[in-house]
């Protein structure tokens, strides 16, 4: 044959194998990339990171899923919607993750939810209580069906919180309640529900900025109004000065509600013991919520040298396993198949039994996700509510009879 034909023959001979074998096989054998977002320098974010890492390690040790390992890709959001969007875009377009989980602040989740939805990737949030996130699932299912949450929304929290508050008011015969709530989007449904149900028994309502350093004025007003119980809703930094100043001023009111900083194992040290008798809802306690809870708690403590802290911990750990379970049942990473598989979830995790409602929020109630309260007593977090889960008795602050 002449030279040009020879060259063409060689080219074809080389091209065929290249086409058949050389084409990059689309990651069917590479790791499954799970994007994890959150404010990792803060306690709730640290819990997301640590719980996700432990969960992924356990999944991989058991062989991974669909024969592939999980690879976590972390992206810091710093509680900022702008930084959150940048982080998510990086995960989607540069790291090319298959799913995204995590986040603690609703403002960030609301900002990134549309971006992830438009790119048809699963977004499983493990914090972020704003009902607006799951409202979107109902309002525009075809766009937002990829969104799921392994944690209660604020409406559900409000219902459960009111149960505890009512119980506390009748047990301790205290009728006058003050609410101190941060100004953040997820708080609104809870404040509205409290106003409605308490009526005239709500003697003071103080709103503080999320990074307030000084709550002296609010505490003075609460004291002037003769409140007997203070219901705090503080997911951000204000929880620390709140506890310190409440104790220093010896405000004659019991504390309940939800103070995220009080859920951290460093809270006792940070308040120099002023946290004595401080109570907060805590999602994630060392109690037999499910048979998996205490073993997980101990494994986590052993690995990291400290106990699980914020609510995001249990929600993230369960989230990873729920995702893995869904991937297994769907048999692929196709997002539409994953949506169907996730909707059929009925998973017993460390936080209880998780089934998703039509809104893609978890079902609430004692047979699903129990709502537990802890109280600080002599340096330890003691579970004090609901009565059948308690590990100790409720204490009064030293200056209240």
């Amino acid at each position: 044959m002449d030279r040009s034909t020879f060259v063409r023959a060689v080219a074809v001979a080389l091209a065929v194998p290249a086409l058949v074998f050389g084409t990059p096989v689309p990651a069917q054998t590479g790791p499954i990339k799970v994007g994890v977002i959150g404010p990792f320098k803060l306690t709730p974010g640290r819990d997301i990171q640590e719980a996700a890492t432990l969960a992924a390690d356990e999944v991989n040790a058991a062989g991974g899923v669909l024969g592939r390992k999980l690879q976590l890709v972390f992206a810091e959001t710093e509680q900022s919607p702008e930084k959150g969007k940048t982080a998510v875009e990086r995960l989607l377009f540069v790291d090319k993750v298959d799913v995204i989980i995590g986040e603690h602040r609703s403002e960030v989740a609301l900002a990134v939810q549309p971006i992830i939805a438009e790119n048809k990737k699963i977004f499983l949030s493990t914090g972020t209580a704003s009902p607006l996130l799951s409202d979107n699932v109902l309002k525009d299912y075809s766009k937002y069906k990829y969104y799921f949450r392994t944690f209660l929304n604020a409406n559900q929290m409000a219902e459960q919180m009111q149960l505890q508050l009512t119980d506390m008011m009748s047990t301790y015969k205290r009728e006058k309640v003050a609410v101190i709530a941060e100004t953040a989007v997820w708080v609104e449904p809870i404040v509205a529900a409290l106003k409605k149900s308490l009526g005239s028994r709500l003697v003071a309502l103080e709103r503080v900025s999320t990074n307030a350093k000084d709550l002296s004025v609010e505490l003075s007003r609460v004291q002037s109004a003769k409140a007997q119980i203070v219901f705090a809703i503080l997911a951000a930094d204000a929880g620390l000065p709140f506890a310190r100043q409440w104790a220093d001023r010896q405000i004659p009111a019991l504390i309940t509600g939800y103070t995220v900083m009080a859920q951290s194992d460093r809270f006792w040290e940070q308040t120099e013991g002023r946290a004595q008798a401080f109570m907060t809802w805590k999602h994630g306690v060392r109690a037999p919520i499910s048979p998996k809870t205490i073993p997980y708690w101990d494994r986590f403590t052993k690995k990291y040298g400290h106990v699980p802290g914020a609510y995001t911990n249990f929600a993230t750990y369960d989230g990873v396993f729920i995702l893995v379970d869904a991937i297994r049942r769907a048999g692929s990473l196709d997002s539409d198949a994953l949506v169907k598989a996730l909707e059929a979830t009925d998973h017993v995790g460390v936080s209880g039994r998780i089934k998703f409602s039509k809104r893609h929020d978890p079902e609430a109630g004692p047979e699903f996700l129990p709502f537990t309260y802890i109280q600080w007593n002599k340096g330890e977090m003691v579970t004090v509510w609901p009565p059948k889960m308690k590990t100790g008795e409720m204490q009064m602050p030293a200056w209240i009879k």
Binding site: L42, Q79, N211, K213, S216, P241, R244, E272
Partner: protein
Amino acid sequence: MLADIVIFGTIWGAIYTILALGFTLIFGVARILNLAYGAMYLVASYLIYTLVTRFGMAAPVAWLLAVAATAIAGMLLYRLFIFPLRDTLGRVLIVTAGMAIFLQEVAVLLYSTEPRYVPTLFPGSLEFLGVRITHQQLLTLVVAFALVALLHLFLERTRYGRELRAVAQDAEMASLMGIPVERTYLVAMGLSTALAAAAGALVAPFLTVSPEMGWSPLLVAFTVVVLGGLGSLWGTILAAFIVAYAEMFTAYLISPQLRDAATFAIMIGTLVFRPHGLFGKGIVE
């Protein structure tokens, strides 16, 4: 409620006096508007936090060390960044503002935005007029008065103090009389920073330490100096208490979120209606 306003107004008045005195020292003597002044307050607080919680140092030692270290840092800041530019107010403003932002970001990098606590020196509290005051807050009052008295003695009785006052009155004349003007500026800067640091050390235990904590003190210091006018110790003290009580009234009777707004209003109002302040020479000539 009124008791709260009076008591906390007095405590804050004492703190603001120290803050304002530091600010007026460097502005009155060297005509330098140091926007990094609040950052010195921040640096001292974080230093105390680090020394006590990360190095286990005893609190009083940490305080003294932090104030001294911050004073040195302030003098370095002056020598390296402000001295070369001090003829142009605009450049000084930009450089010191830049320094303040830089230090804030360093704080975020090293400590994150999570608030830190500084332990109290004296636990416990007492009740006065139906309000619980902590021993720490009482200590603040005592220390503030002591610092004011010490500063007064320094300015009246020591050589450095006299040089400071001379340079403040007329730098050129002072230099002709043989007073080392540059060294005086340096001393003023060190003192000024030490006062800001002392204020930070006093406040940190009953609030918290976080990266944006430097801006409020700067606003307050500036407002008090504008209101009180330069050159009068008593003017500064009175102005500090006026600002403190105004803030308390606003916070308690209107809204706590408007506290800084009240301070701003005083500053702007003074600049518009009485630019030379209540007493002494004004910042605006």
